[in-house]
Amino acid sequence: MRTFLVISVVSVALAQPPVAPTSEQAGNPRGDNSGSYNIIQSFELGYRFATVGGDGGMYDSTVNYGDGIRLLSSSLTVQSRDGHGRLFDHLVISTQGLGGDPYQSAILRIEKNRLYRYDMMWRLNQYVDPAVTVSYGEHAMNTTRTMQDHDLTLFPEGRYKLFLGYSRNLETGPALTTIQLFNAQGDEFPLFENVHRQVNEYRLGGEVHLLGVRLNVMHGWEDYRENSPQSLTSPSQGNNPNDLNALTSFQSTEPIHGTSPYWRVGIFSEGKKFWAVNGRFTYVAGKQAFALDELSAGTTLRGAANQLQVVTFGNADRPTLAANLTISLFPATHVVLTNQTSFSNIRMIGDSYFTEFDNGFQSSPVLPFQYLGIQTFSNTTDLMFHPAKWFTIHGGFEYSDRHINSVQGQSNLGDPAPAQPAIEQSNQLKAGTLGFRLKPLKALTVSVDGEVGRENKPIYPISDGNYQAFRARVEYKLKLFRVGAYAKSDYNVNSDVLTSYASHARQYGADGSWVPVSWFSIDASYTKLHLNTLGGINYFSQGIDVSGESSYYISNIHSATLGARFRVLKRADIYVGYSHVQDVGDGRATPYGAGLYSALPAFQAVQTFPLRYLSPQARVSIRITPKLRWNAGYQYYGYREQFSSAQDYQAHTGFTSLGFSF
C-alpha cells in the first residue's frame, strides 16, 4: 500500500491541470471481487462555480469553466479474473466533465480475449473566441464541437483480423463573420453566421498474417456536409460609417457536400534478427460539390442604390496519393540502419461557375479554374550505433525534392479555357542529423541532437531555408527524485534580392520532481521561450512603392509551474499549484518602443505584445470513509495585457464535490 501511495503522489505532480476533477479516487485501488470479475469504480459529483471580472469573452476563450452541478469524473473497470468472462473479459468506462463543463469526454473499452475489442471515445468541446485582434472581433465564435469515434476489432490477436469503425464530428453554434461590398473599394459589413458542419466517416478493413508477412488493408468513406447560412441582423453602415456605403439586407447560403473515400494498404515483415521491412500506400479521393446564392442590397460608396446577387456552383477535387517504403537492417549487434523512401502526389483541381447580377444586369458568367499540384519525393537514412550500454550515437541524412505546379485562369462559360502558362517551382532540401546519448551513471542521462539543413529555393520566407536546430538535455533520475535541464535552438534564414527573413527561436528550461517522504511531493518547472523574427516588407502608399520597411516581432515568454502535495494523517490530501506565463516582450514601456526597424507607427505597435497569465490553485481532499471523499478547491485566473486593459480579466473559480465508490 505504501508503494501505491507513493506512486499516487508522484503521478499527480507533473501537469498543471484545472483544479477539478481531483486525482484522488475513493475506494479500494485493488477493487472488489464479484463472481469471476474484479471491479474498480468511483465517481466524483460536485458543484463548480466561477465569477469573472473584466472581459468575460476573453475568459470564455481561454478558460470557460462555469457554474453548475457536474459529474466531474467517473471510472469503472471490470476485469475477468480468469480470462474467461462470459461476454467480456475487460471493461473500462471513464468520463470527465459531464453535465455542463465546456470540455467533456467519455471513453469505453470492452474486450473479450481473442474474440473482439471495441473502443469508443466521445468528446465535447465548447469553443468561444472573441478574437479582438482578428478582424476587430467581428469573427467571434461560440460553437460546440462533439466528436465520437467507434472502433471494433474482431479477432484482435489472431492471424486474421477485421476492423469496423465509425467517426462523427459535429460543429454547431453562432458565429460572426464579415463581407466586403459592393466593389473593391467597398466597406466591410458584419454578418451573423449559423454554423453547422458535420462529418461522418465509416471504416472497413482487415489484416492477414501469413508466411511472416502481415498485410493490412483499410477502406474508408468520409462524408462532409456544411450549411452555415449568413445573414444581416440589422442595417449596417459598415466598418467605415463616414462614407455612404451601407448594407440594408443580406442573405447567403452555401450548402457544401464533400466525400473522401480513401484506401490505406500496409505490409510488414520482420526477418528475425537481421532485417525488417514495411511499406504503405494510401490514396484519398477528396471531392466537394457546392452552390452559393448570395443576395445583398444597400448603397454604394457614392450613395447609389445597389442590389447584388452572386450565384456560384461547381466542384473541387483533390486526389492525394502517398507511398512509403522503410527498410531496417541490423547488420551487427548494436547497429540499426534504417532507410525510408517516400513519395506523395497531391493534385487540386476546381471549377466554379460564377454569375453576378448587378442591379438586375447579368454579368457574363465565367468559369474560373485553378490547378495546384505538389509532388514530393524524400529519402532519409539513419544509422544508430550502441557501442556500449552507456553510449549511443546516431546520425542521418535527409533528402527531399518537391515540385509545385500551378495554373490559374478563367474563361467565359461555354468557351474553351484559354491556355495559361503554368507556374512551376522545384526545390530540394538536404539535411544532416547527428546526436548522441551518454549515460555515465545509471541515474544520469545526457543527450545532444543537431540538425542542419539547406533548402535551395524555399517557397515562402518563413519556410525552412538555411536552418540549424540543436537540442541538449541533461537528466538525473534516482528513484523518486528527478531533475533535468534542457536547451533548444532553431534558427532559420531566408534571403532574396528584395528582402530577407530571419527567425531565431531559443528555449531553455529546467524541471524537477521529488518525493522525499510518502506524504509529500513537489514538482517545479521553468521555461524561457524566446522568439524573434525580422522580415522585410515592400508595399505601396499613394501609388508609391515603399521599400526598406521591416516586420519585426519579439517575444520573451517566461513560463513556470510549481506544485506540491501533502498527505496529512493519512486522511487528507492537499495540493497547491501555481502556473505563471509572462511575455515581457523586449522590455519597452509603450507599444511603439524606440521605433526600431520601421518608420511606420502601425508596424512599431505590433512588434511585441507583453502580457501576463497566471493561475494559482489549491485543493483539499479528505477521506471520510474508505469509500467516500470530500473535495474542495479554488483556482484563480488572471489575464493582463501590458498595453491595453480592454481584454484583461480576473476569474475566481472553484468547486466542492464528493468522490465515492459503491
Binding site: T77, E254, R280, R318, S378, N494
Partner: protein, 303 residues
C-alpha cells in the same frame, strides 16, 4: 537417411532442452506473489488464460525468458531477462518480438524516441500501470509526455491552447509516439512524429474538417507547408494560436512584396498595390479575406 535421422534427433533434443528451461508462470508466483496476483488485469494475461500458447509465449517467461536458471540461483537479475538491466536496445527487441507488426508501430525503429533511447518501458509500465488502457506508466497520457517535453508543457500553459491539460485533447490525437510516416506537407522530412489523418493528410484536419476542403481556390501555403505556417499547434499567447498577435503581421510574413518567393516566383508581387499598409483598413486582412483557408467562390478568399 542416417544423417537426417541424426540431425532430427539433435534438433529434437535441443528443442526439448530449451523447452525444459521454461518452468511456467505458477513457479514465479512463489516469490513474486504481489505481481502475479494482480497480473490478471494485464493484457498479457491472455497468454496464460488461453492455455494454447507455447511456453516461450506464455505468461512471465514470454517476456522474461526461461526461468529455470533463475529458480536454481534463488533469484537474481543475472539469471533472468530483467528489463531494468538489459538496456533500451534489448527492451525494444523484446517487445517488438510480438508488437512489431502493427501499422501504428511501423516506424518505431527510426522514430525520434528510439533514437533518444526512449523505448517501450519508458512510457509503459507492465506491472505497475496507473492507466486502465495501454498500460501507461502514468495515469494521464499528458504527464508521460510532459516528463520529457517540458517546452511543450509550457506551451499548453499558454492562454490559447488545445485543451490537453483540460483532458479533452490528447497528445496522440496528433502525434504517433511510435514514429510517423513522412509528411505530405512541408518538405516531408521534419514531421516530428505527427500522425496523419486518413493515412496521408495533416492531423489537424481530423477535427477541423471545414479547413480540409478541397477548395476550388486553395490557400496554397496550407497545402504546401501546412497549418504551422500560421498557427502554433500546442499553444500560444496569441488568439487562435496564431504565430503573431495581430492578423496582418501573420500575413505579411509571406505576403511581403518580395517577388522571389511563392509559386508565382516570376517577379509577381505577393501584395496588392491597392493595399496601403499605412491605412488601418488594410491591417485586418481577414475582415475582407474571410475564407482564408480556401474558397470555392473567390480566388482572393473574399466569400
Amino acid at each position: 537417411m542416417k544423417f537426417l535421422r541424426a540431425v532430427s534427433a539433435a534438433l529434437f533434443l535441443t528443442a526439448l532442452s530449451l523447452a525444459s528451461d521454461y518452468v511456467g508462470s505458477d513457479a514465479c508466483k512463489t516469490c513474486h506473489a504481489p505481481v502475479f496476483n494482480q497480473f490478471f488485469r494485464n493484457p498479457h494475461y491472455q497468454s496464460i488464460a488461453s492455455a494454447k500458447e507455447s511456453p516461450e509465449n506464455t505468461g512471465c517467461e514470454s517476456c522474461h525468458g526461461p526461468g529455470k536458471a533463475h529458480i536454481a540461483a534463488h533469484g537474481g537479475k543475472a539469471t533472468i531477462v530483467a528489463f531494468s538491466e538489459i538496456g533500451p536496445e534489448k527492451t525494444l527487441d523484446a517487445c517488438l518480438r510480438c508488437h512489431s507488426q502493427t501499422l501504428s508501430r511501423a516506424n518505431i525503429r527510426k522514430s525520434a524516441h528510439t533514437q533518444a533511447d526512449v523505448v517501450c518501458t519508458n512510457c509503459h509500465s507492465i506491472h505497475n500501470s496507473k492507466a486502465p488502457r495501454f498500460l501507461l506508466a502514468k495515469q494521464e497520457q499528458r504527464d508521460l509526455c510532459y516528463s520529457c517535453h517540458s517546452t511543450v508543457k509550457a506551451q499548453f500553459s499558454m492562454p490559447f491552447k488545445h485543451r490537453v491539460n483540460e483532458g479533452s485533447v490528447q497528445c496522440t490525437d496528433c502525434h504517433n509516439p511510435h514514429g510517423a510516416f513522412a509528411a505530405t506537407w512541408g518538405m516531408a522530412v521534419r514531421s516530428h512524429m505527427v500522425d496523419q489523418k486518413q493515412g496521408n493528410e495533416e492531423a489537424c484536419l481530423k477535427c477541423h474538417a471545414d479547413k480540409r476542403g478541397p477548395f476550388v481556390y486553395e490557400h496554397a501555403s496550407v497545402r504546401i507547408d501546412g497549418c504551422q505556417t500560421c498557427h502554433m499547434p500546442h499553444g500560444s499567447t496569441n488568439p487562435r494560436m496564431l504565430t503573431r498577435p495581430t492578423i496582418f503581421t501573420v500575413c505579411l510574413e509571406c505576403h511581403n512584396g518580395a517577388g522571389t518567393f511563392g509559386i508565382m516566383n516570376n517577379g509577381v508581387f505577393h501584395l496588392s498595390p491597392t493595399h496601403n499598409l499605412a491605412d488601418p483598413r488594410y491591417q485586418n486582412c481577414t475582415t475582407c479575406h474571410v475564407r482564408i483557408h480556401g474558397s470555392n467562390a473567390d480566388a482572393l478568399f473574399m466569400r
